[in-house]
Amino acid sequence: MITRVTTQMSITAATERLQANAARVADATQRATTLQAIAKPSDDPVGTGSSMQVRKEQAAAAQYTRNANDAVGWLATTDSALSGAHAVLTTVRDLTVQAANSGVMDDTARDAFITQFRALKADLESAANTTYGTRSVFAGSSTEATAYTSADGFAAATTAVSRRVGDAQTVRVDTPGAAAFGSGATSAFAVIDGIVADLQNGVNVNPKLNDVDAAFGTLRAAQADVGVRHAAALGAQDALKTSSVALETRRAGIEDLDLAGAVLDLQVQQTTYQAALAVTAKVLQPTLMDYLR
């Protein structure tokens, strides 16, 4: 209990109170202008940890989104390449049926068929060498310049190429060439070569229709597989969009201040400060000196 109030004491106390008020105004101003709830770790040590964790998850989600976009692009390219191959094989089948039903052909007609079949094979090879960016979509991890050469077949790939689209989810993006076009004697390329050889030797190509249909089967299976993976990548894209919104909401909840609350707080602090200034000015002025003559 203080019974004696001295001049110095009132002045010191008033200064300290004004200082404290001014500090609170500065603090409220800082928060209202930055709208950050956590300016430094000591403001909220636990919140700082959560904030760093959420930012980490956001960075990962952004990375997964880029990966998913890449996977979708790669698989769409694969899908269109396979559709192209499918169209080529359809033409091959139509021509085979025509050639089988043409009876005895003269050389000109036969050469015309052979030329067409060779052109179709070239189309198929070009589909097999489709690239996405710098990578051949049917070559997997191989570093070969071209995925397919008629001499060596498809380049050997030792590992699959996949894209990570979630903490525990990856999507395989490459399609082994052999799985789509077949390999060895039953490959789509070998089937066309067989048809050309039969035509040259004057053998009826009708039996080759079965081989063409088998190649179709292989291609369709590959298309279905790519379709499934494409759907998975698209699904991951959607999920990542949703989760990035959720993560941003979480980050804002931890780090950001409510504008209305911050401005209101600033207003209250300013009013308090002004009141303190006015009161101090009134209280500090008079001493007995003012009343003695």
Binding site: I2, T7, T12, A13, R55, Q63, S141, R163, D167, L292
Partner: protein
């Protein structure tokens, strides 16, 4: 029976006392704004009547006026001691809170400028490299991100070195101030002792000495013991820094750089040697900050520096382990990604080994593009015990410590304000009170003058008017 002119002497003593009172009041008012000034008051007492003995009998006699006995200094030793103790602990807490706050500011967390965000960029760069292992751009962004992380760690660690050196040199300056203040206290002890022995007033000297002892308390804590001859002893950790007119000196010893890892301590450099135990003060706070790391309980700066080193070491270990599993385009396996320079703190010696995509493990043993290594590396940010977790727990630790230190500083600050208010309540000058005193001394002076006039007129009557019966 009083002598004829005795009354004049009594009135004169009243005049003198009132003048002394006005002088002291004037001194108080003049020093109303002087820091450390303690208000003074004239102590006066009434002079008893002279014992007249048997000749004149034992008639009742008035006293012989007033005597000015001295000028009292209205301070309180208890409140002064309380103020010194509060100053010591407040300075200690303030120094520590400032140090921790500086460490905390250097973290730049949470946000996009902190190490955590830079690590995220680094891991993302590995994710991009996993998607495009043959892309020179992806490779160079991995290396650039790694360089940024290494630079951030080195910058943070160097900033701690600088902070440590700054705190140490500040403490060294404060030790010089402490020695100077102690020397002045001893000098004032001598002056006060002789002034008091001669019967004089040493109030202003005592004010000066109190200011110095309070400065010593703010620098190094300590206690003050008053002696009967008016001198004071200043004790640091129970040992005298000042004893009467003798003074001992102290100096900082120990590590000169943070890298030395040696404890910094305050030691006696005169008298019996040994280290000084500090129980407060800004030097005490600085020494607590400067202490070497001790597994989490050491000095804040050294612990922070050790945490930076831990993060750098963990980063290098985890990344190199995974990176070594892959093969570089040139066919080398087991290639390191990060290198730690020997002889420097890990955080400052961390460097990135590959200079382009040829040094990155993007291939498998067959020499084909393999994204699995880069993919594993991109996920190292979430592994338990990894660099990110180490960093996050360090940041949270610094945050908590800084929060505690800052609230401690606020609390001791409040205690200091309260102690100062209490002390000022007793020792401070109140202008209203001084004005009232001024009035009363003024009236006392006027009253004494009136007594003098009355005696004068009385004597005039006696000398000039008595015995004139019948004269013209």
């Amino acid at each position: 029976m009083v002598s004829t002119f005795g009354s004049l002497a009594t009135a004169y003593s009243g005049l003198t006392a009132a003048r002394a009172g006005i002088d002291v009041t004037g001194q108080n008012i003049a020093n109303a704004g002087t820091a450390g000034y303690t208000r003074q008051r004239v102590t006066q007492s009434s002079v008893p009547a002279v014992q007249t003995g048997f000749v004149h009998g034992t008639a009742a006699l008035a006293g012989q006026g007033v005597s000015v006995d001295g000028i009292a200094r209205l301070g309180s030793l208890t409140l002064d001691a309380g103020l010194r103790a509060a100053t010591g602990s407040s300075a200690w807490a303030q120094t520590r809170a400032t140090g921790l706050s500086a460490i905390e500011d250097g973290l730049h967390e949470p946000g996009k400028n902190g190490l955590s965000a830079q690590l995220d960029v680094f891991w993302s760069a590995w994710g991009d490299l996993a998607a495009h292992p043959d892309d020179a751009g992806a490779a160079s962004s991995v290396i650039a991100a790694a360089t940024t992380v290494a630079t951030a760690l080195a910058t943070g660690s160097r900033a701690l070195d600088t902070q440590w050196a700054t705190v140490r040199s500040t403490a060294a300056t404060q030790v010089d101030q402490l020695n100077a203040a102690a020397k002045q206290v001893a000098g004032l002890n001598v002056q006060i002792r002789s002034a008091l022995a001669a019967g004089g007033s040493a109030n202003e000297l005592q004010d000066q000495r109190d200011r110095l002892t309070q400065q010593i308390a703010g620098l190094a804590g300590g206690t003050v013991r008053t002696n009967s001859d008016g001198t004071v002893d200043v004790l640091l950790g129970g040992n005298p820094l000042v004893q009467g007119d003798t003074v001992r000196t102290v100096a900082l010893e120990g590590g000169a750089r943070l890298g030395d890892g040696a404890a910094v301590s305050l030691r006696w450099t005169s008298g019996s040697a040994g280290s000084v135990t500090l129980d407060g003060g800004s030097i005490g706070g600085a020494l607590a900050l400067l202490a070497p790391a001790a597994g989490g309980t050491g000095g804040a700066i050294a612990e922070a520096s050790a945490a930076y080193d831990r993060v750098a070491t963990r980063l290098a270990e985890t990344v190199n382990t995974e990176h070594a599993k892959g093969t570089t385009p040139s066919g080398a396996t087991g290639a390191p990604f990060f290198a730690l320079a020997a002889g420097t703190p890990a955080a400052q010696g961390l460097s990135v080994v590959p200079t382009d995509g040829d040094g990155l493990a993007t291939r498998n043993a067959a020499g084909q593009l393999d994204d699995s290594f880069a993919d594993t590396l991109s996920r190292l940010g979430t592994v338990a015990g990894g660099a990110d977790r180490t960093w996050a727990s360090f940041v949270a630790g610094v945050g908590s410590a800084s929060r505690t230190a800052s609230s401690e500083a606020t609390l001791t600050g409040l205690a200091l304000t309260s102690a100062r208010t209490q002390q000022q309540s007793g020792a401070g000058v109140d202008l209203d009170e001084e004005n009232v005193n001024l009035l009363s001394y003024q009236h006392a002076y006027q009253g004494a003058a009136r007594v003098l006039t009355a005696v004068d007129e009385m004597l005039d009557t006696l000398i000039n008017r008595v015995g004139l019966v019948g004269r013209g």
